[in-house]
Subunit: 212 residues, 2 copies
DNA sequence: CTTGACATACGCACTAGTTCGTACATTTTA
DNA sequence: TAAAATGTACGAACTAGTGCGTATGTCAAG
């Protein structure tokens, strides 16, 4: 919006807040909630610590803002996916691909969710915006499964939430457990060839499961 | 080993250390490494903070000891599993069942691994004991897969580490993401009926994948 | 179009409380 | 008595949060 002038201050609340959230996301995802330092965030910001408290009230408030922004980002990406035209099997493959690539492309989000689980999802509980999410994915899957069963391509009547979990678990784990898994098995999970193989594997596993 | 006498102190270093480790495990798994408080651990212990530093040197030293003990506990459990007598498909089902139940029975372990991943597996790297683990599982899976392919029951030549990941991801995710998943989908993952269904699902998914 | 009043945006430097770690004293065991 | 094990009390450093003063933008009155 407004260009930055050389001399003197230029008020730009929106940009200041975005800047704080960017830095805070980085800090929290690499050190956790308790491990993240407000002073460290302040230092890496264009602005000061005082501003963090001015806008977000507390460390927890800042963390919650980071979490909500991360979820909001996803929602926008998940929405426009036209699957009802595709045949069931192909629709499912597209959905799985999308989930896979999404987790791969958003490790900060994956890490935030991991952190939330360590804290028993305490902050998510307080945010209605977040809870109401993800439900759309279930409806999408339910529709695909129903079409598949009706068309006779899927033999098994599976629960859509279970299927979502089967897909999500694999895609999420690849990112969330990248470091321990990589260390133990000396394997780089972010290598393109490995990624492609894994993407194919989870899709084949889900589909062959449904066909049996 | 040594019984506790009523009057006066009874030196029992082993027991003291075990006690500290028990409490520390609880503290770290519920608050993370940075969030865990040494003073809180000391208070819940039969002994004092001084002893924590006497035996473990530092907070990180204590954390590492907790981590190593958790891994050691697993190794002992995983060893005696006689699968080479069973037909491949059944052997795989037993292995999957074991993994599933193991993760379910050891949420502290799952949480420690999650915490390690947030810290980029930095502590695991420094512990040789931990790195050399898990390799036996891969050999077990490799043997089962080879037998299955030879016998013609498995059509697909899969990589054992990939298969381990497919299994492990699902079992791990159910426990590690219990809170966020439960919150979003209002589903209690520790319910017996749900557990049984999921255990069957992951086994069926892996096996139908290999048969395709 | 200038001036001044007021709300919002911002920064410095400080405080109160916490947290890891230790010096020192003491007890138990051998 | 020496060595190992343990308890108490304290300190140095860190960390979340704040008091207070300043800059900037807006809008209405002159």
């Amino acid at each position: 919006m407004a260009a930055k002038r050389e001399n003197g201050r230029k008020n730009d609340p929106q940009r200041t807040q975005e800047d704080i959230l960017d830095v805070a996301t980085e800090e929290f995802t690499t050190h956790g909630l308790a491990g993240g330092r407000v002073d460290a965030i302040a230092e890496k910001t264009r602005t000061s610590k005082r501003m963090i408290y001015y806008y977000f009230g507390s460390k927890e408030g800042l963390y919650l803002a980071v979490l909500e922004r991360a979820y909001r980002k996803i929602r926008t990406l998940e929405e426009d996916l036209q699957l009802s035209n595709l045949p069931p099997e192909q629709a499912l493959r597209v959905l799985i691909s999308t989930t896979f690539e999404h987790d791969e492309a958003n490790p900060e989000f994956v890490r935030l969710v991991s952190i939330e689980n360590i804290h028993h999802a305490a902050h998510m509980l307080r945010s209605e915006a977040i809870r109401d999410l993800n439900v759309s994915v279930i409806e999408t899957i339910a529709a695909i499964l129903a079409r598949g069963v009706a068309a006779g391509v899927f033999a098994r009547k599976a629960d859509p939430i279970d299927i979502h979990m089967l897909i999500s678990a694999f895609c999420f784990f690849r990112v969330s457990n990248r470091y321990t898994f990589g260390t133990i098995f000396r394997r780089d999970l972010s290598e393109p060839a490995t990624m492609e193989r894994h993407k194919g594997m989870i899709a084949d596993a889900v589909i062959s499961y449904l066909k049996t």
